[in-house]
Structure formats: structure tokens, C-alpha cells
């Protein structure tokens, strides 16, 4: 967990420069559409569009390697389960001893895997091109309460610190003879001596932090000024609305009989 939590990759492409909301809406509506459209071909189309956007942003390598690492292990499981046990199974493809694989289940698994690939690629595309701090800043500029903005930003800072502390406590407890390997009950017993010191020290720091914030006017109900305002434009606003309206339109089309 070195270098913080963010997956953000420096860049100056169209996607990098876009307003965080535009990218957020793009991600959400791409995922929603992938789960609404009726056939695998449509899902593949959405995936291709997302990959093209990633390539334009100069992220194709990262996007593909990241997505493959997540999707491949899951897809093996999905193909194994659905090809064997899907209730629609009729046509035998091959058999491994008593385990028979069917065409219908494998086709369904392919559809499911494509949809998951869409979800993963859309999410990665968003996190590769958007600084986490920008998301909370943009949310605050459009009316999120500053205290919720604080929650987001400080979580991003505290998580890496706490993870570092977890590693230190693990080493310390191991050097005192705590067994962290072996059967399930022994590993489960080792969990509490690792968690307790970690949680106590991080919880006890909250009171000091709360006082420090109060002293600096955290609880005041005044309007905050931003150091910079995100560039937004009419084309971006129009794109956002169009993208946001696409999933409901697709639902209407499905209800009206889009096969």
C-alpha cells in the first residue's frame, strides 16, 4: 500500500481534464447500460467504447492489465459454475468424467463475464483519470456539506497510515510468539490480539483530532471558499444529461419489447 490509495495516473487527456461529475456519470451510466441491454453483442459494444476512451486517455495498457487481473479469476469460476449447473442447460458440449458442460450455461457465463468486464473497466477508467480529492472538492462545490467532504478526504489519508500500523503490529505480535498460521481456529484466535491494539490507538486519536478541528472552526456554519473552481462547460453539462438519460431510456425500450 505504498504511495496512498489512489490509482490516479497523471495525464492531460480529455478525460483527465473533464469535470469529475462528467466522468462519474459516464461510469455509472455505462455500468447501468451494460446491465440493461438485452444481448452480449451490445455489452461488447459498450466495452469497446470504454476501451477506446481509455486508449484516448493513454491508459490502454493499465486498463487491460488491471481488468484482466480482476476479471479472469472470477470468470473461471463463473464458467465452471454456469456451464455445469445453469437450469437452462440442454446441449452437451463436453464432459470431464461425471461433470458435464452445456452450451447454454457457457453462453450465459460469457454474457455475465462481459458485463462484469464492463463494470470493472468503467470503474478503473474513472479511478485512473480522477483524483479522489477532486471528487470530494467537486461535491462540496455543488452543495455537499464540508463535514462530509472532510470525511472523504481524511479517510483517504488515514487508511494508508492505519494499514502501515497493521503491518507494524503484526510484526510486533509475531516477535512475541503469536501464531498466525495453522488451522482455522488458531488463525481466528490470532485475529483479536492484532486488531485490539490497532483499533484502540486509532480510536483514541479521534478525540484529539476532533478538538483540533473545532479550534480551527470546523463546526462553524459559514460558507467556505474554494481555492480553485473546476472548469465546467455547456457541452459537458449536455453530455452529462444525455448520458444520465440513456439508462432510463434503455429501460423504457426494454419494457417496450427491445430484444
Amino acid at each position: 500500500m505504498r504511495g496512498g490509495l489512489s490509482l490516479y495516473v497523471e495525464g492531460n487527456s480529455l478525460l483527465h481534464r473533464a469535470h469529475p461529475f462528467t466522468k462519474g456519470v459516464l461510469m455509472l451510466s455505462a455500468v447501468a447500460l451494460a446491465f440493461i441491454v438485452p444481448s452480449a453483442l451490445w455489452v461488447a459494444g459498450i466495452l469497446v467504447v470504454l476501451l477506446i476512451l481509455g486508449t484516448v486517455a493513454g491508459l490502454s495498457r493499465r486498463l487491460v492489465t488491471g481488468a484482466v487481473a480482476v476479471v479472469v479469476p472470477l470468470s473461471l469460476l463463473i464458467f465452471a459454475v454456469q456451464g455445469f449447473a445453469n437450469p437452462a442447460n440442454r446441449t452437451v458440449v463436453f464432459a470431464l468424467g461425471p461433470i458435464v458442460y452445456y452450451k447454454e450455461g457457457l453462453a450465459f457465463a460469457g454474457f455475465v463475464v462481459l458485463r462484469i468486464a464492463c463494470l470493472v473497466v468503467a470503474t478503473f477508467l474513472f479511478s485512473f483519470t480522477t483524483r479522489p480529492a477532486d471528487i470530494s472538492e467537486a461535491l462540496m462545490q455543488s452543495g455537499l456539506s464540508p463535514s462530509m467532504g472532510y470525511v472523504l478526504q481524511s479517510a483517504l489519508q488515514i487508511i494508508p497510515q492505519t494499514l502501515d500500523m497493521a503491518v507494524r503490529i503484526q510484526d510486533a505480535q509475531r516477535s512475541r510468539g503469536l501464531e498466525t498460521e495453522g488451522p482455522l481456529h488458531r488463525r481466528a484466535r490470532a485475529y483479536l490480539p492484532l486488531m485490539l491494539p490497532l483499533v484502540l490507538s486509532s480510536l483514541l486519536a479521534t478525540q484529539e483530532r476532533a478538538m483540533a478541528l473545532e479550534v480551527r472552526g470546523f463546526g462553524l456554519s459559514v460558507k467556505r471558499q474554494s481555492r480553485y473552481v473546476f472548469a465546467d462547460s455547456t457541452p459537458q453539462r449536455v453530455t452529462r444529461w444525455l448520458m444520465a438519460l440513456a439508462p432510463p431510456a434503455a429501460v423504457v425500450a426494454r419494457v417496450a419489447g427491445w430484444q
Partner: protein, 206 residues
Amino acid sequence: MGVLNAFKFRMNTLAIVLIPVCIAIDWAGHALAQALHLFFLDSIGTVLGGLLAGPWVGGLAGLLTNILSSGSTDPIAWSYCGVAFAIGVVAGIGGYYGWHKTWPGRIILYVLIVLAASIISTPINIGLYGGGSGVAYGDAMYAALVKSGWPTWLAAYLDEASADIPDKFITVVVATAIYFGLPNRYRALFSVWRRSPGEPEPAPAR
């Protein structure tokens, strides 16, 4: 005092500062669980936040834990943020009624958290994976059950519950153990959220 009183929005600075800490505890708990090859254990901070400071703190901690882990290690996690929110809210209601202080209450808390997690996860699993849960041993059970004629929704539910039952057991045990390991003075700091004016000061937890 009805259950709705637990949901009155009384966030002081301390409760707000607690949310990111709970998120970090969720993360560290998950990291330690990975190191020990245990279950997910990614909601200890959520449950603890709910017990200490109510349904909003617990729910928000759960929601944001999943959203933040989507942005780094697990891009699929945000589809399950509603599950984490529900776990935090259930723990918050439990904290409001003080369920974690008695044995029957602890069992109710555990059962409700398992039910909330498994019932909300199952439709997401069906939509996302076509029924499995993405955990190998649970999915093997799912395949066997569907093959022997069980309805897919029931098999999907049992698949999910088979992971949630042990996972949430350790979560609730660890969260209550930590709660009772906290100094009294500190627990009382957070308990302001559940008192309305005129109510007596809460008895210190044993």
C-alpha cells in the same frame, strides 16, 4: 422512545471524525484477515461505528468503505455498498437499544446483521454473477444445489449465507470485544447522540 429516534441526525464533530476512523478500521481488519487467510472481515469498523455512534455513522462508514475500495483494490466493491450501509444501520439500531450489552441482545445483533447482509447481497449476486457469490467453496455448493433441482434464488441465498454466517460471527465478536475494551470515559463521549434532553445519563457499560 421509538426506533426512529435513533435516526435523528445529531452529528457532532466527534461523530464525524469517527467515520473515517471506522473506514480505516474496516480496511485494516480486511488486510489482517487477508494476512491470516480468514474470511472478508471488512465490516468491523462499520459495526463498531454503529454501536458507538448510531446508524448514520455506521451506515456512512460502511457505504464509504466500499466506495473507497472500489477506487483502489476492488473495482466491484461499489455494487455492494448498500449491503455495507445496511450492516452499519443495523449495528446502529443495536447500539441505540444497547443490544451489545446483554447475551440475548448480542445474538439478535448477530442474526440481524447476517440476515441484512445475506438478503441484500443475494439479488446483487444474481444480477452480477448469475447466482454465485465469487467465493469458490460457496459457488461449488451453489452448483451442487442447483444441479439437484433447488431453485436458483434459494441456492444463491445459501451460497451467500455460507460465507456471511462465519464472517459476521467473527465481526460481531471482535466489534463487541473492542467496544468493551474501550475506556468508559471514551464510550460516554459518543453516547451523547442517543440522549434527548431530559433523558438521564446512560449507565456505564459493564
